[in-house]
Symmetry: C2
Subunit: 123 residues, 2 copies
């Protein structure tokens, strides 16, 4: 398994990207969730309350948790710079997982890295 946890395969084509201005809220903690996002360009901050969980750049994925467990958003996502996002619907997500095991492993790797980072922060 490779270490690369980027999702450039989803942002490299001529996929319609959703622009968000710097400072814009992409989703809020507690929102219902219908899609995950891959960052095509720009930087995004993930925070719970006022605590920054992580800052993400191009080819990173976020918003996958709510899609996986059907719970409301566990954190808030804010555009640090102007960003372009590729949205992946729940249906597309399930298709990708079922058709491309490599995609599933990449999502698992992202979750595992976040858990390790969280455990280190608070351990």
């Amino acid at each position: 398994m490779k270490d690369d946890a980027s999702f450039s395969v989803l942002t490299g084509n001529n996929i319609d990207a959703r622009p968000v201005k710097a400072g814009g809220v992409i989703f809020r903690e507690g929102d219902e969730a219908h899609e995950l996002f891959v960052i095509k360009s720009g930087e995004v901050r993930i925070q719970i309350g006022n605590r920054t969980i992580t800052e993400l750049t191009a080819d990173c994925v976020f918003g996958e948790m709510a899609l996986i467990d059907n719970e409301p958003r566990s954190a808030t996502a804010i555009a640090i710079t102007d960003v372009e996002l590729v949205a992946v619907s729940e249906k597309q997500f399930l298709f990708l997982v079922s058709q491309t095991p490599y995609f599933a492993l990449k999502v698992m790797r992202v979750l595992a890295q976040r858990l390790r980072a969280t455990n280190k922060t608070f351990g």
Copy 2:
């Protein structure tokens, strides 16, 4: 997607289970990892240092993180009671992910739930 995050499919057959006596260490933080485990019977505590992360019962999975990201064990696993474990090798894990998208989703759901629990504990 169902809420059921158990892995009973892996423990229901006549699969060889590995017995561990109450108090026995299944793996230690920092160990190299070559397999994940599904609990066939008994209870297992996952801890980092002296801090209990979670306690798991039959049909739960643990030890999947190190297999996903090829890092050393991030926590220690100890048998609370006498337990029977089904070991899943990295090769078997990759086979399950590639052949059964439902398995991949279940593993993702376990990781997402642990992240939510961790964020709640420390949020």
